[in-house]
């Protein structure tokens, strides 16, 4: 049975493996950090958030300062899709951001029906405006 943990990562409960939700590539032991099965690279933040104001003229340009912030991208080694993007100070250890209790997850889903796609739920509607 597959559980859709994020829009890019499933856990196969039978094999206890992470897999790419896009191409099905095996990403590793579900009891470990999924990032161990992904590829990672560091980006200068201005490669993504490019300066809107002329960087030759101004100190602050809408682009993050690379001394303060780098962007680490994680992609599937097979299909190259991004599974996670992390904003970190240079050199800061990446987070083990999702650590699930796999035994509890199996027990929980033993009582549930398998899904063929993630459930979105009712749309998010901000309450009506007042003024």
């Amino acid at each position: 049975m597959k559980v859709f943990i994020t829009s890019m990562l499933n856990i196969d409960l039978d094999s206890e493996r992470w897999e790419c939700a896009s191409c099905g590539h095996d990403i590793g032991d579900a009891r470990h950090n999924y990032k161990e099965g992904l590829l990672a690279r560091e980006r200068d933040p201005s490669e993504i958030h490019a300066p809107i104001l002329d960087a030759a003229k101004y100190d602050f340009t809408f682009a993050p300062d690379p001394d303060w912030c780098r962007i680490v991208e994680y992609c599937c080694p097979n299909c190259g899709r991004l599974a996670e993007v992390e904003y970190l100070p240079p050199g800061h250890p990446p987070a083990h951001d999702i650590e699930l209790d796999i035994d509890a997850l199996k027990a929980q889903w033993a009582k549930r029906e398998a899904l063929d796609k993630p459930v979105l739920g009712p749309d998010f509607v901000a309450p009506p405006h007042h003024h």
Binding site: F62, P94, P122
Partner: protein, 749 residues
Amino acid sequence: MGDDMDIGGAASSAVESFLKETSLYLAPDPEIMENHGLEPRTAYEDQCIAKESDPVRLEIVRERILAGVNESFEMLENMGAAPGAKWGDCVSAVYTASGDLSLASSGGVVIFCNLVQYPIKFVNKYWAGEPTVGIKEGDVFIVNDARYGQAHNTDQSMMMPVFHEGQIVAWAGATVHEGENGAIEPGGMPSLAEQIWDEGLKMSPFKVAENYKLRRDLVTFLQNSVREPKLQYADMKVKMYVCRRIETRIHEAIAEYGVEAVVAALRMNLEDTDAEVRRRLSEWPDGTTRHSWWTDGTLRENVQIKINLELTKKGDELTFDYRGSSPEFTNRSNNSLDITVKGMLAQLFLTFIWPDIPRNQGVLAPVKFIFDTPSVLKPAFGTPNAQSMMTVFTAWSAGQVCAMKLLYSNPHKYTRVLAPWFNMINTFLFGGLTQHGEMVGNVCADINGMGGGALADRDGEHGCAPIFATMSDIGEQEFIEEEMPFIQIVSKKMMKDNQGFGCQRGGMGYQMVLAMRDSPAFGFMLTAMGAKFPNIPGLFGGYGCPTYPLSRISGVDVFDILQKDPGSFRYSIEELMNERPFKDGKYTTHPMTIGYTLAKRGELYMISQGTGGGFGDPLDRDPKDVIRDLDEDLISHDVAWRIYRVVYNRETLHVDELATEEARNAARRARIAASKPFGEFCKEWVKDKPSGKVPYYGSWADKSLVHAGSPDVVHPAGQVNPPVIMTHPMQAKIDRLEAELAACREGKS
């Protein structure tokens, strides 16, 4: 349940009453302030529930009282004089006799839901039996000091006991973000506060009305302490009559259904909410999600401040563990009280996760919190907190990310998983003399224009609502200009490329180009983080927001220019700053953190609201959506190619689907080629401490150790000694210049 895990043992009641009688000063009571959960059922509540327990009947009573609360909220919003009241930054509510918030108005700011309980509990505990105070029918109490229980000191709450046959059966309360409170800077949220005494009014809960009449001597004292005396009086009257309306509606409900039904409905509403939240939490997977984020300043200087969160869900309980976050800043105002963090998180659940749950404090009963004490999220008693939003919003967004990572897999959701909402107050605070000769100090409603986060299946909404008040409005600019001596020459115009990129993109933020016009003395201040390090990330492969500066053009009078040479004006920050159309202008950029500064007529101040985070890989975005954004001038050709890799005809905007697919496949292959297996990447990337290029506060790899500005010195978390004391920025500048001067002189001799 609901107690903090770091709470100490309770004192015995004899010791307690001795202390109560001999205390020279009744500071906020840790026993009250450390417990965000529900009070135990009283014997009277037990009796009432024994008599009235039919859920259908209790629901009818509940709806009846809620209708009264909603009516009172309409009054508050329509009659309130503060800009905050006009735009919905207020709430009214009914509390149990013990002080738990049971029913908040359907409109209004839910963060208050978990906060006004504390001052009511203080009044119950200290003033009920105090012969010089007491609690009688017709009394009204007031509070604004956040340490006794408010979101921040700029809010003021009034609280009225509701009696039935000589006994308190409920409390009514009304809260408004009033703005002005007599602090060192106008507007109620002073960045310059170095001590709590710079923060303005420090109202501990006290009685301000008797027999439903405000005491004029006390009102005058409060008016005399703030910059907007008329506002202070007007809104005290409004809040008192709002409480009175709630009282009337409760009395009517008692007359119709009996007091037992009313008391049982208020109590069961809390217990049922607690039970339902536990049931819903049981549906989440057990496990831990982690998220760290960094703010980039104290509002006085740019430094890197870590907010560290580990969210653990087990069974039907949830624990927010914020240990490892930055130490407190003992002479800065960007520290947040822990109760403010809790109040904000209550509204994460009530608005963004379970919007159908009754709005009361039962929602946090199954939730625990762990903080280092003291730290930037739980400062010591004497540490300023006037600008708590600078850290509490980041703490909230960390909670949003961690919760979404536990929510996505749930087969039953109550609303959708959402990428982070923009979270910073990219707006102007203002103060001074208006064109009508009145003294004012407050905040522009553009605070409410934060961009919404993207969802799995659609883009976020532009300029939508603030994270703390999803129903708040950005107001009518023309209306504001009638009252205030400044004009937004460019207003509510989306800022191109200011986008949280993703398969679904975040809702974008608009630009504000503003100039002061008709006042002898009027100024602005800005209090927003995020000029160096962005404020929010994206979700599941989406990107976050960019960074946001303040741009200024000084040495010009734009009103003269618009009259003499209107064609030279440009209607975006990008064009005004990059093209520099006014030859005498001085063009500068700054972090969005200037202290109160007097403005000159016609100088331009320019900022942008922020974008919500993107959801999913941008290379998966439907090319049609990219073209729509291009067509609407939301993105540039550069972004359409560099981020989204769409191939199209620049004149017709016709997409070449095959070429787009090829370009995207090539980009994915390039990504793989440029990346490394995680282990190998970490060997190169991970350093054992911060770089030292930027002053760093908070933990690095080990959350039990925190840095206090330097990469080489660490302290056990919560035991930073000496404490963090920042140098006055002006002094820092003088020191730097003197060192330079000394070096120059040495060079000469």
